[in-house]
């Protein structure tokens, strides 16, 4: 099985703030991590390889420092890593991101593509399906169990639904997006981290892809962010310190009456 995993470097969410004056994101000094949902995708790829043999290639698009997440993936056990990086790719929306990834993936061989269900910075969950459509392959999103049959070249997944799950069968090649619960991602050891730093990471630019720069990045995006602002803060609530639990319960009941209760 040849497996490709698309990953993203994201800021650790707890730290992201908006500058009250300029209304832009304050990203300086914010630690970056491998998107948590992508960890499930990498882990699943490694498990499929361990069972069926093959090769796991991780891809990311981002600034040069996005290399850090590829090193982590290599330390987890991925065989190859490719970094798509170019100033022309900056500011890409989900369409432009999927389009760029597609240009690269079309040059590679693959049976399965795995992605996290969404990245925790944008929360869109759009790049996976858009990539699948661009590649002309089927998709199965929000997947919590994967069974690959290498002989028949089919995959059977359990896909989350609003009230449980559905079992879906599909022929390969296909794209899957991973949710929490799919597996427990392995922690790379210090030794493997040190080994991974020495591994080669291939860098691919817009020129390497031979793409017209107006089709990627901000210029190639179909949506445009026109304003970024801080959400309206919630109105300050009432704080009750009431030692008698009976009275405390009564306070809650009074709050509910006329609101949730008639």
């Amino acid at each position: 099985m040849k497996i490709i995993v698309c990953v993203k470097q994201v800021p650790e969410i707890t730290e992201v703030k908006i500058d009250p004056v300029t209304h832009t994101l304050v990203r300086e000094g914010v630690p970056s991590i491998l998107n948590p949902f992508d960890e499930f995708a990498v882990e699943e790829a490694l498990r499929i390889r361990e069972k069926h043999g093959g090769e796991v290639t991780v891809l990311t698009m981002g600034p040069p420092q996005a290399k850090e997440v590829l090193v982590k993936c290599l330390a987890m056990g991925a065989d190859k890593a490719v970094l798509l990086t170019d100033r022309a790719f900056a500011g890409a929306d989900t369409w432009a991101t999927a389009y760029t990834l597609c240009l690269l993936i079309k040059r590679l061989e693959f049976d399965i593509i795995l992605c996290g269900k969404q990245a925790i910075d944008g929360d869109t969950a759009q790049v996976g399906p858009m990539l699948a459509e661009n590649l002309g392959i089927p998709q199965m999103t929000f997947v919590k169990k994967v069974d690959v049959d290498a002989k028949t070249r089919k995959v059977v997944v359990e896909r989350e639904t609003e009230d449980g799950h559905e079992v879906v069968e599909c022929r390969l090649p296909a794209l899957l997006t991973a949710i929490k619960g799919l597996n427990e991602p392995r922690l790379p050891s210090l030794m493997s981290m040190m080994g991974a730093v020495k591994k080669e990471i291939k860098t691919v630019t817009a020129t390497d892809l031979g793409v017209d720069p107006s089709l990627v990045g901000l210029k190639g995006s179909y949506t445009q962010v026109v304003e970024v602002f801080a959400p309206e803060p919630r109105k300050k609530g009432t704080l009750v310190t009431e030692t008698d639990p009976e009275k405390a319960a009564k306070r809650i009941l009074e709050f509910l009456q006329g609101r949730v209760l008639a």
């Binding site: 800021p11 969410i13 992201v16 994101l25 948590p36 949902f37 989900t94 369409w95 925790i120 910075d121 944008g122 929360d123 869109t124 759009q126 996976g128 399906p129 858009m130 990539l131 459509e133 002309g136 089927p138 998709q139 929000f142 639904t161 609003e162 009230d163 449980g164 799950h165 559905e166 079992v167 879906v168 022929r171 296909a174 929490k180 179909y222 949506t223 445009q224 962010v225 026109v226 304003e227 970024v228 602002f229 959400p231 109105k235 609530g237 009432t238 704080l239 009750v240 310190t241 405390a248 319960a249 306070r251 809650i252 009941l253 709050f255 509910l256 609101r259 949730v260 209760l261 008639a262």
Partner: protein
């Protein structure tokens, strides 16, 4: 040059003729010929053994934007009934349509769904595009994408709204990529600006910032977070105006097949995404057994039970009931947080709730910073008493 081309490699095998949902292909002198009823749905490109049919889709030029008119809501069904998000979108879509002076339509796709046209009309749909076929019983990405993209190409709406549900978020990006149009995910606000464009407002970075987004393409397409927009009051006197669109579906064109559907969450108390009231527990609940406090309170209120990540990681609560960044984002009418300290990762998943009540013995718990009513106290003392007092009042009289 037409967007769809048949290459010389066509052998005239006729597979595409049978597969075309719109009957648009005929064989002329041993070669496939594409007729005017083609909607560029791509089924033939997928099914052709020779890969001899190709579609090149140019972007809609700005000067043609004016040809795109009307607001569409894509209705979502589940086991023969409509999901509430469809009504919420009709309410919101109606507001946008009035601002534009355009028509509000619903798109209803499924098997035996004609009866659902009436509630769609009652909730504001002036027209209903109805696609009915026995193969549309289950949502399947390929088929639904083919149908929706074809309808958009044929009727040219200016705005398309889809619920940001599991299937909505599977379908919308697929359709957007096929039509090469912009898509904004999980919007919580929509406005029409002075230039008659749709301003799509959504949270990013876990709700720490909000972004206003404009589409550079037509139609303007967005998925909308369920339970954020209000459900409009139905007017049962409205008769549905149905436009039936016939399709001829071939199972061969669908690459993924639903083998089984498993309903794990049969009880309303487990379905946090649909609940109006959620009683949620954190590590402060102490043990799995103690969760019965939450279930009893939820039952008295007619709500569901959720939890924060620590209790899910302990195995006390299934993952599908987890609220927060690695779980689900919910916005119920009322969220009651019991023994939840309120890390940013948890608050991300619930801070858009209409009302928040928090009970925690730590007066410095961050959850109190966003709660409307904060009770410093012991959940084991307070919650059973609250449940008892509620039971004394009989059931809540405001039924949802």
């Amino acid at each position: 040059m037409s967007a769809i081309q048949v290459k010389e490699t066509c052998t005239g095998c006729g597979v595409c003729v049978k597969a075309c949902p719109f009957g648009a292909i005929v064989m002329v002198e041993g070669k496939a010929q594409i007729g005017d009823s083609c909607t560029l749905c791509t089924v033939c490109t997928r099914i052709c053994p020779q890969h001899a049919i190709t579609i090149e889709r140019p972007m809609v030029p700005t000067e043609q934007f004016k040809d795109y008119k009307g607001v569409w809501v894509i209705a979502e069904t589940s086991e023969g009934s409509l999901r509430n998000v469809s009504f919420e979108l009709l309410g919101e879509g109606g507001r946008l349509a009035r601002a534009l002076g355009e028509e509000l339509s619903a798109v209803l796709v499924g098997s035996e769904v004609t009866k659902l046209a009436k509630p769609l009309a009652a909730h504001g749909a002036e027209k209903i595009f109805l696609v009915e076929h026995e193969l549309l019983k289950h949502f399947v990405t390929d088929t639904y994408t083919d149908i929706l993209s074809s309808l958009i190409v044929r009727y040219k709406p200016s705005i398309v709204l889809i619920g940001a549900t599991i299937n909505g978020r599977d379908l919308a990006p697929r359709v957007a990529a096929r039509l090469r149009i912009g898509l904004t995910a999980d919007c919580t606000g929509l406005e029409i600006d002075a230039e008659r464009r749709l301003v799509q407002i959504r949270p990013a970075f876990g709700g720490n910032i909000m972004a206003s987004i404009i589409s550079q393409t037509r139609p303007q397409m967005a998925t909308v977070r369920p339970r954020v927009m209000k459900t409009p009051k139905p007017d049962e006197s409205r008769e549905p105006k149905i436009e039936r669109v016939n399709v001829n579906l071939n199972p061969v064109a669908t690459r993924a097949k639903v083998l089984d559907k498993v309903k794990q969450l049969s009880k309303a108390s487990e379905k946090i995404e649909e609940a109006h009231i959620i009683v949620s527990c954190g590590k402060g609940i102490g043990s799995q057994e103690n969760l019965k406090l939450a279930y009893e309170l939820a039952e008295a209120l007619g709500g569901a039970v959720g939890g924060s990540r620590p209790i899910v990681d302990c195995g006390w609560l299934p993952h599908h009931q987890q609220v927060g960044q690695s779980g689900k984002t919910v916005s119920p009418e009322l969220y009651i947080a019991l023994g939840i300290s309120g890390s940013i990762q948890h608050r991300i998943g619930m801070q858009s709730s209409e009302m928040i009540i928090a009970v925690n013995k730590d007066p410095a718990a961050p959850i109190f910073s966003i709660a409307d009513l904060s009770i410093v106290g012991d959940i084991f003392q307070i919650v059973p008493r609250l449940t008892e007092q509620l039971q004394g009042l009989n059931k809540p009289s405001k039924q949802h």
